[in-house]
Symmetry: C2
Subunit: 204 residues, 2 copies
């Protein structure tokens, strides 16, 4: 299902979602932070949910967070920082897109290595779900972004569902205002790490 | 002690601090969120501490948060959302300024009513500390701010310690980019309410 975005305004409302850092192999809960941004400009709202480390509830919690926010009517696109949260709590972006009626763009800081990833999932009996989610996210594309006050370009790897590649690329470019990554994703990461660790990690 | 700010750049690093919402009379901990901003433009970092509801540790935690962040060397000014946090956990901005070597600006959304405030503090045996903190924060000033894309002006009430009124007013005006309140304070409030309640409250 493709959701037609007639025009892409500089202030297009984006909900970006990232997870908190967690110690590897730790059990329990992790946080999911959602940040509602106007393009790459400024924050309209902050959302929080909890998910199980290595669990199976990230997909459902992302759908819930998106559909229940008071900003839902204004939202035009979702951005996820990868397709796994809190370890191997993996999500199917086709399901998320269809249940929220919004296109979903996945931002990858590095080129994802799916072989390595699926092997790791196989060890915890999640190979099948992993393969389903990797297929749903589709091919990995590459684009270049240039922050407003930067002369250099940086690479962003991405996947998407529910829109055309042209639209996904335009939204990534217009929202990468401060660093080599869309600003909503950068800020979701700063908040999620700051809340869990007491001080945020990195600029991006 | 006055800290001379030779020039005020549009990207002056501001640390703004706000507390989470909490249910009145509840006991226990509340969160303190710090947001490091470049002027009124964008976020550089997010900090978190915990304080006691109606306790006496907000002042010391604000000093700790400010002095221990990796951004300390870049910080030029602190902004506090009022002089009380987590109920009646009240702070002396002269102490905070002297122990962090930074000017402190207090942002008040409404004109503070100190008589009412001191009466409430008297009921919990904090009149003396309250009076000390009210005196340290000094007179309440009023300025008008205009967000970048707004034609209207809005009022901001403020107090300060460690700089001149001229400097405090300039910093408030330049950082009020998105609403009738400095952007770092607006965002600290969105994060603190979003984290505690699951969804942030208000635009400011």
């Amino acid at each position: 299902m493709i959701f037609i975005l007639k025009t892409i305004k500089p202030e297009i409302r984006i909900l970006a979602i990232d997870d908190g850092p967690f110690e590897f192999k730790r059990k329990g809960k992790d946080i999911l932070i959602g940040v509602i941004f106007r393009g790459g400009e400024f924050i309209d709202g902050v959302l929080k949910e909890e998910i199980e480390i290595d669990g199976n509830d990230a997909e459902e919690k992302i759908i819930k967070m998106t559909n229940e926010t008071k900003h839902k009517g204004q939202l035009r696109v979702l951005m996820l920082d990868g397709i796994t949260f809190a370890g191997f709590n993996i999500v199917n972006i086709k399901n998320i897109s269809e249940k929220t009626k919004l296109p979903v763009i996945v931002i990858n800081r590095k080129k994802p290595n799916f072989d390595y990833f699926l092997k790791a999932l196989a060890k915890i009996n999640k190979y099948e779900k992993g393969m389903e989610c990797v297929k749903a996210a589709g091919d990995v594309y590459l684009t270049k972004v240039k922050p407003l006050k930067d002369k250099r370009y940086g690479k962003v790897f991405y996947q998407f569902y529910g829109c055309t590649n042209d639209i996904a690329e335009k939204i990534i470019k217009l929202s990468s205002t401060r660093a080599f990554i869309p600003e909503p994703v950068r800020v979701a990461h700063l908040i999620a790490t700051g809340i869990v660790l007491g001080e945020s990690l990195g600029r991006a």
